[in-house]
């Protein structure tokens, strides 16, 4: 069994050239839980599983991820000799790795929503007289709208029933909710100005 601290440590590892490493690790572990694979095989399985989400993920990402998982004792590599060719490594889950996959699947924590941090920014800006909260809200609205446009354009370009479209729908709905909340903020801070 891996000490808990080490597992927690995993989440603190630096992002891997853009991709959030943690989620790549979780997906790799989940795929290995079904079937041990060597690196190249795993890359193909991952590409299939991630579909359009895997676009920016390359072999390097996967080997770095496997190396880190191995170090954390969540996977182990077995050498398999091949006639006439160099040995290759087949990766499989350790007991701790299996445990971790179960934890991940049953974990119901949800990504931290934006409101609290932005709310505190507004409160602090107003309290310190540093900036007009309404101006901050206007600026933030512009940012979110640009993100919304990007996501909804991408969604409109997807054929009906596409899995990428489903994901983009989630991105769009989330941004809409944030923008509606910003309107509530604008109402409140306008009233507070008197």
């Amino acid at each position: 069994m891996v000490p808990l601290g080490q597992v927690v440590q995993l989440e603190k590892i630096e992002p891997l050239q853009g991709y959030k490493l943690r989620i790549v690790q979780e997906v790799v572990l989940a795929l290995l839980a079904k079937q041990a694979s060597h690196g190249y095989q795993l890359q193909a399985r991952l590409a299939l599983a991630l579909g359009p989400l895997g676009g920016a993920l390359n072999a390097g990402h996967i080997y770095v991820t496997l190396g880190r998982l191995e170090k954390a004792d969540l996977v182990r590599a077995r050498r398999v000799d091949q006639a006439g060719r160099p040995d290759r490594k087949v990766y499989e889950l350790t007991a701790a790795g299996r445990e971790r996959v179960h934890e991940w699947l049953s974990d119901t924590s949800w990504p931290k929503p934006a409101p609290a941090e932005f709310h505190l920014k507004l409160v602090a800006a107003a309290a310190a007289g540093l900036a007009d909260p309404v101006r901050l809200i206007d600026k933030q609205r512009g940012e979110l709208l640009v993100g919304l446009r990007e996501a909804q354009r991408a969604a409109l370009a997807e054929p009906a029933g596409s899995v990428a479209g489903l994901l983009l729908e989630g991105v769009v709905l989330r941004l809409q909710a944030d923008l509606r909340w910003l309107e509530e903020c604008a109402r409140y801070w306008n009233a507070a100005k008197g």
């Binding site: 853009g18 989400l53 206007d138 512009g142 909804q152 983009l168 991105v171």
Partner: protein, 248 residues
């Protein structure tokens, strides 16, 4: 003397609109100045009662301002005789207003082709364009329905198609998604994006974030005045994993 850009489709200077007198005085629009460039999509947002609809009425020459001026395609609306104003409204403007009624006795298709016929288009050309527009708003299969046989959202989409019949210089839209559910709104979004891509100039008043997000420029109104203006930069599309927050 105001400097007007060559590409300006709409230019409003110091627009004011007041209703009532004395204690009942309402300053619905206060000193609004606005330039809209050819091909621009401008969204106006703001709380209920802040003067958005009044502003659109002034921009479209449907109401006369208490002060200020509106120039459409270079000509000053308030200097024209009413007949000429009406002609310009028919030819150069497309209105999409929430309470803009369809002609009850005409089918959806006939409603959409009406503005083109009034402007002197050939019946065949008007019909072809009307059919295409109805298809664009997702109502190809409702072409022969009377308005009374259409849902509120469908009637609204017919009104939008009708506004586009004459390929107007400027489309003025007041809450075009007001009665639409989410999937109908998506259809309308698609239409807005297409219009925009084709260079149609639009000023839209909206509460819908999705419509606002299609704009090049977002104007916030409060108490009759413009209080903020944000340019929404194009921004190249990122990979799906980045949009979905999978990349750090």
């Amino acid at each position: 003397m105001t400097v007007e850009s060559e590409t300006s489709v709409l230019s409003a200077q110091g627009l004011c609109k007041e209703y009532g007198k004395g204690a009942a005085l309402v300053r619905a629009v206060q000193a609004v100045t606005l330039e809209v460039e050819r091909g621009e999509l401008v969204a106006v947002v703001g709380p209920s009662g802040c003067g958005k609809s009044t502003l659109l009425h002034l921009l479209g020459g449907l109401e006369r301002p208490t002060a200020g001026s509106v120039r459409l395609g270079g000509s000053a609306l308030e200097r024209m005789p009413e007949a000429q104003q009406a002609r310009i409204r028919r030819r150069d403007l497309g209105f999409v207003f929430q309470a803009f009624h369809l002609v009850d006795e005409l089918t959806a298709l006939e409603n959409v082709e009406l503005p083109a016929l009034l402007a002197g288009a050939s019946p065949r050309g008007a019909r072809a364009r009307a059919s295409e527009l109805l298809a664009q708003v997702g109502l190809a299969d409702r072409a022969s329905h009377l308005p009374s046989a259409l849902s509120g959202g469908q009637q609204q989409r017919v009104a939008i198609a009708r506004a586009l019949a004459n390929e107007p210089l400027l489309v003025l839209a007041d809450e075009p998604t007001g009665n639409l559910d989410s999937s109908a709104t998506t259809e309308l979004l698609r239409l807005f994006e297409q219009l925009h891509a084709r260079g149609q100039t639009v000023v839209v008043v909206t509460h819908d974030e999705r419509i606002a997000a299609t704009a090049d420029r977002l104007i916030s109104m409060r108490d009759g005045a413009f209080v903020d203006e944000t340019k929404l930069a194009g921004g190249t599309a990122r990979p799906l994993s980045a949009m979905a927050g999978l990349e750090a």
